[in-house]
């Protein structure tokens, strides 16, 4: 029964997402939906290392940007989209490996500071290595790929392509998290010393998780490149790393839906609310403060907690203790925990 309900809501969500261009009105909103999805992929990738490995990275915009820059540079050099995408992902994985080797010398604050420094190095290269990156002017590309002959120039096909990538990311990360390796990773977050004594290679587990996280950051970076057809040093700035980290934290770390909710919140505030309120940054800040005060665990787990509390109260009152059956658990966040 519960499985059926979960399957039903999953199908409903898929249907709503796939038919979004039909009911959302105009292409402006379709483009915003594409942005939400690409940032959700980025946040999901970051969540692997922040939520499941317990290592807070403030340098992930560097990986996101490396992918975007590599893709853009390969395309302007005359390579095809397939080569550019593959090349960009290989470069991103290489840089992620280097980041991981350096940053994993520390945990906690040490890890955060090293990732900040690495992100700033990428920013410095983007800003100052003008012959490669065109400096402050950024790199523009003039075309989007056309997989299987389908042009992605218009808003709707681009949205659907982004949706496919997003769904693959969600599925891949859901499988990863529920796997034995995912259980090992969460173990290293909660009790690293214990895990070592139990026979796990804590460093290697974290390293591989960092690569996986970097891979999805790179995929999101490529989506970003094709969405804007432009990349500049702003993309790899510290504020960009902080923004995606806020998505993960506000939505709920170590959940599957949290980073998606966080991406939705931030992108909508940035694009939609800024049309009505000039000081939208102030509103976003106020929302983050409210989340920290009322739902310190994040929007998704916080809402689940409220919902469970509300349904329990409702059930307790009319029927007494017999109705105190545990509230369905894990069905909403896809069993991510």
């Amino acid at each position: 029964m519960r499985r059926l309900a979960a399957l039903g809501s999953l199908l409903l969500a898929l249907g709503l997402l796939a038919s979004l261009p039909a009911w959302i009105g105009n292409s402006y909103y379709v483009n915003i939906a594409s942005q939400v999805l690409l940032y959700a992929v980025f946040a999901l990738g970051l969540n692997v290392i922040v939520g499941y490995a317990g290592l807070v990275s403030l340098g992930h915009a560097g990986l996101f940007g490396i992918a975007a820059y590599s893709g853009a540079i390969l395309i302007t050099a005359g390579y095809g989209h397939f080569v550019a995408i593959a090349g960009a992902l290989v470069v991103t994985l290489g840089v992620a490996a280097l980041f991981a080797v350096l940053a994993l010398r520390g945990t906690g604050l040490g890890f955060v500071m090293i990732t900040v420094a690495l992100g700033q190095i990428v920013w410095g290269v983007a800003y100052r290595w003008i012959s490669l990156t065109n400096g402050d002017n950024g790199v523009s590309i003039t075309s989007r790929p056309a997989p299987f002959g389908l042009s992605l120039v218009d808003a709707n096909p681009f949205y659907w392509a982004t949706l496919v990538v997003f769904l693959v990311a969600v599925a891949a990360i859901a499988i990863f998290v529920a796997s034995p390796f995912g259980a090992s990773l969460r173990g290293t977050r909660d009790q690293p010393r214990r895990m070592n004594a139990l026979g796990y290679n804590v460093w290697l587990i974290r390293f591989l998780a960092f690569l996986f996280s970097g891979l999805w950051s790179g995929v999101a970076g490529l989506l970003f490149l094709y969405y804007n057809q432009f990349v500049s040093p702003q993309t790899v700035a510290l504020t960009a790393s902080a923004e995606v980290l806020l998505m993960v934290i506000s939505g709920g770390t170590a959940t599957l839906l949290g980073p998606i909710a966080g991406a939705l919140l931030v992108v909508i505030m940035k694009n939609v609310a800024s049309g009505y309120i000039e000081r939208w940054n102030f509103v976003l800040g106020a929302i983050f403060v409210a989340i920290v005060i009322f739902m310190p665990e994040g929007l998704v787990p916080g809402s689940l907690r409220l919902w469970r509390w509300a349904t329990r109260r409702r059930r307790q009152h009319p029927a007494g203790p017999a109705a105190m059956a545990p509230v369905p658990h894990g069905s909403i966040n896809g069993g991510a925990q």
């Binding site: 796997s179 090992s184 009790q191 214990r194 004594a197 139990l198 026979g199």
Partner: protein, 245 residues
């Protein structure tokens, strides 16, 4: 051949020589008790044996094999398991998940990112068997945060036993337990077959003396007395250390 042989082991933290010169030989199947006043270096000795700390000098042999340079995580694969004095379990997970993680640590499956951990029948079966051994099978699906201190101590032991170790190091398994819980854990330890060699640190003399065949007294990082139960209890040095005579 000894199950565990420690010789000339030394460890200093700055100017503090926590382990001065420890020599220890434990026979296969033996139950060895290590006692000593606070700060004698008992837990440090365990950490040196499991490799969580690196000794300054000395050798550690597990069934004749030198392991002093083997990384800590590899020693688990060689049949060395320990429990902790301060409970270090996975709070958010169920009891079964805790024990399954212990089993997974020695399985090649731990690198697999595709299969579902919660559906690994072999791990579940072995995990439930380990919980049954410590009498916690009926609580297998309860989150660890919902269990009592005494139950957690038993989960610790279940995790150690689940790895099927050749040598099991128990760091104060009775600490903080009620009298009944002590009796439970005592029965549990007595039920461990003798193909597992056990070295135990314990302050509770009543339960510990009953369990151990041989006793090592550690004082200021050195072995001062070693022998059978009666020998150690009667030895003037033991009395000196414990009674200050």
């Amino acid at each position: 051949m000894s199950a565990l042989e420690v010789s000339g082991l030394q460890k200093s933290f700055g100017g503090l020589r926590v382990t001065r010169e420890v020599n220890l030989s434990v026979e296969p199947g033996e139950r060895r008790l290590i006692i000593g006043p606070n700060g004698a270096g008992k837990t440090t000795l365990f950490s040196l044996i499991t490799g969580e700390l690196r000794p300054d000098a000395g050798s550690i042999r597990l069934f004749g094999r030198e392991i002093v340079r083997v990384p800590s995580r590899r020693r688990a694969h060689l049949g060395l398991a320990r429990t902790y004095q301060i409970i270090t379990l996975f709070q958010r997970e169920t009891l079964l998940h805790n024990v399954m993680l212990s089993l997974l640590g020695l399985s090649g499956l731990r690198w697999n990112p595709f299969r579902r951990f919660a559906q690994q029948a072999a791990l579940i079966e072995a995990g439930r068997a380990a919980l049954a051994r410590v009498g916690l099978l009926d609580m297998a699906d309860r989150p660890l945060s919902d269990t009592s201190y005494g139950e957690r101590r038993r989960v610790e032991i279940a995790m150690g036993l689940a790895q099927n170790p050749k040598v099991l190091l128990l760091d104060e398994p009775f600490a903080g337990l009620s009298i009944e819980e002590r009796r439970d854990v005592q029965g549990l330890l007595a039920s461990i077959p003798h193909d597992v060699t056990i070295v135990m640190i314990e302050h509770d003399m009543d339960v510990a003396l009953e369990f151990a065949e041989r006793i090592t007294v550690l004082h200021f990082g050195e072995v001062v007395v070693e022998g059978s139960r009666a020998e150690v209890v009667a030895h003037p040095k033991t009395r000196e250390i414990y009674l200050g005579e």
